[in-house]
Symmetry: C2
Subunit: 413 residues, 2 copies
């Protein structure tokens, strides 16, 4: 019997009526002849409440206890979803991570999945169970303690189950109906894509498109899991609904640029007049990494007379942490700079597309479009399939719209 | 190293500051040189919220899913308590039922404890852990599913751990500071007892004293676990605090009557003119039991000309259920009665004391005291160590006070 994995996030199971709504979609897949593994998140708000209690209790908490506490929200949803399905006449039961068992390493709070044995669930499927509802985001360590997978853990759980059980597809139900060429709140002409490649989705995810978590896309790419993003609040769950994330080869349409992404709350920090010597980058960025600062773009100016300027970007809410780490490093003598200039009014705008690999001049066209709109570019980074620029935040929407227009993303090819 | 078990109920862990308050008492026992097993309930209100969700989802729910959902509240408290203790510098960790594992049968919702292996916790105690915080109320079935122990399950968990680990004592922390000769809200002279026997506590618990759950007292009696009831909101946790529940032989004081209990919301139901034949009691009470009616006292009048009146008491909120069960049985012809008389304005008052075994005339004295106050007795039942009467509810407080006075319960002997 064919198997599909369906994942419902926190907003899709926020209360009993939303759980019932999600359950009806599961029932529909069962009626279509599938067995289903349903991965559920905690009801929205619940995990935050639990995290809040842990943080209030303890500043430097034991991550094992953190995991034991915060994993409980998913268990509640899993049981309620199983009950709802049973009430609809669907043969369902719930599974907590340790019952599967979803085996992880012991990196509590951000555990890696080691194995998902299929025997337990398959034996129940063989006995006539049609739906296994699995609490997402959690597993069990070799020591028998509960682990959580960290941010986006439920997406990752879903993809991992789809890979382990060789599911026909992995449907991620969320509050949007697919992946758009850009944010429709900024560009009304933004177009929902039918398909997007894993690589592009990865770039978009890491650039701030919040629909799928990077790690789950990586996993899907590695195991060739056909992913789909669709809305839990629309009735259509037929094969044409939502956006498929799949291998590049399966995509017929061939836009050079597939999407425009943005990240609003960026900061640009410049270390002025750093003594330029071998190892200086490490001396700066190791303490930042240790302080948990997510450094994104990095630019080093041309060195003059043994001194250079070093610029990097990070989220605005990490500015204080970054400053503290840099001042501490300066105080301990490991780095030497004259000043620290913080610009917390910048944003990042990116264009993404696998077509860039075979088309020259895409970056140049991007810069031209921005120049025509009078947008000054602060920092540039590029990869094989994306170009990102840091610009003044006030121009962000303008830039996104201009790029969407210039690359004609509203047109499907 | 000596071991004590400490149990904190829902009101004692209702929020983070109450959890901290409970944790300080645990810390104190550790400083006194004990290892501690702490059994925690869910934060007050949480279990009701979860039960509400389950009931709303499904009328005839799968008890296995019910258990998976409602057990999550205790897991949260266990983790938070362990974190709080760690924050205070106490070597603590949390355990969920399946991690111990607390093994139960598969009677979901009201599971019986089969075994508590000590190896896992003891090996951690040997490695320097001082406190094991265990989620109460839950275990794991032979099928590897989560079970709950039903009402008072956390008290039962605490006593079972104390028995399995041969703990020095089992302290039940609650919102009262001990067991009183009667309810101090009714009799201001009510006296906190230093000690009470298991047998008396059992009677008091089943008669409506809500401090300890019957099942946990039974278990304590069977395994000779020294139980103590004390307040989590008072500072004194020294050996003289609270009330000990222990073997009769350990009690020096020798009141003939130890306490007066009452149960306010009782109803008296009389089946008028029942055809009296062998098996008629079974024909009446089996359908009531099947309908979940908690029948308490039963009286059968002297039979006249092949017909009799049958009277029983039950909680007022079960009247409708009882009536329906009896009318259904009448309709199906298994019983035959002329009428059903319901009196929902009665209350039960009881006196309890192991001294009754060796003292005659205690029941007579009770009836005399009530007669002197003009209180009419509707139904009487007796056991070896208690006498209960059903009286008009309006006389309940008067009766309790008069009996407390007459047996001089304010005086310790």
């Amino acid at each position: 019997m064919s198997l599909v994995v369906m994942k419902f996030g926190g907003t899709s199971v926020a209360d009993l009526s939303k759980i019932a709504n999600a359950a009806r979609k599961v029932q529909q897949e069962v009626e279509n002849g599938h067995n289903v593994i349903v991965i559920v998140s905690a009801m929205s708000g619940k995990t935050n409440e639990l995290v809040g209690w842990v943080s209030e209790t303890s500043t430097f908490y034991d991550a094992r206890e953190y995991d034991a506490v915060v994993s409980s929200g998913e268990n509640v949803t899993a049981g309620l979803m199983a009950l709802t399905l049973q009430e609809m006449g669907v043969a369902a039961r719930s599974w907590q991570g340790w019952q599967v068992p979803l085996q992880t390493n012991s990196a509590h709070g951000a555990a890696r999945i080691l194995d998902i044995p299929c025997e337990n669930l398959n034996s129940k499927f063989d006995q006539g169970m049609n739906v296994a509802v699995v609490a997402g985001f959690q597993g069990v360590s070799p020591e028998g303690r509960i682990t959580t997978l960290g941010r986006g853990g439920s997406d990752t759980t879903a993809v991992a189950f789809a890979a382990a059980f060789k599911a026909q597809r992995c449907d991620i139900y969320t509050d949007v109906d697919g992946i758009y060429t850009t944010d429709p709140r900024i560009v009304s002409k933004a177009r929902k894509m039918e398909k997007i490649s894993y690589e592009e989705m990865l770039e978009l995810a890491s650039l701030g498109a919040k629909v799928l978590q990077t790690r789950s896309v990586e996993l899907a790419m590695r195991y060739k899991v056909p992913l789909r993003v669709l809305s839990s609040f629309e009735d259509d769950i037929s094969e044409t609904a939502g956006t498929y994330v799949c291998d590049e080869e399966e995509i017929m349409e061939d836009n050079v640029v597939s999407g425009v992404a943005y990240s609003r709350d960026e900061a640009k920090i410049t270390l002025v007049s750093v003594a330029d010597r071998p190892g200086v980058a490490a001396a700066i960025f190791v303490p930042l990494a240790e302080a948990g600062v997510n450094v994104d773009m990095i630019v080093q100016n041309i060195s003059e007379e043994g001194r250079t300027d070093m610029t990097f970007s990070c989220p605005t809410n990490e500015i204080a942490r970054a400053q503290k780490a840099l001042e501490t490093a300066k105080g301990s003598g490991t780095i030497n700079f004259h000043g620290l200039v913080v610009d917390d009014l910048v944003a990042k705008v990116s264009i993404v597309g696998v077509g860039m690999r075979s088309h020259a001049g895409i970056a140049a066209k991007m810069f031209e479009v921005l120049a025509k709109e009078g947008v000054n570019i602060r920092v540039i980074t590029t990869s094989e399939i994306k170009v990102s620029v840091l610009i003044d935040r006030k121009y962000m929407e303008l830039a996104v719209r201009a790029l969407h227009d210039a690359f004609e993303l509203e047109k499907a090819t």
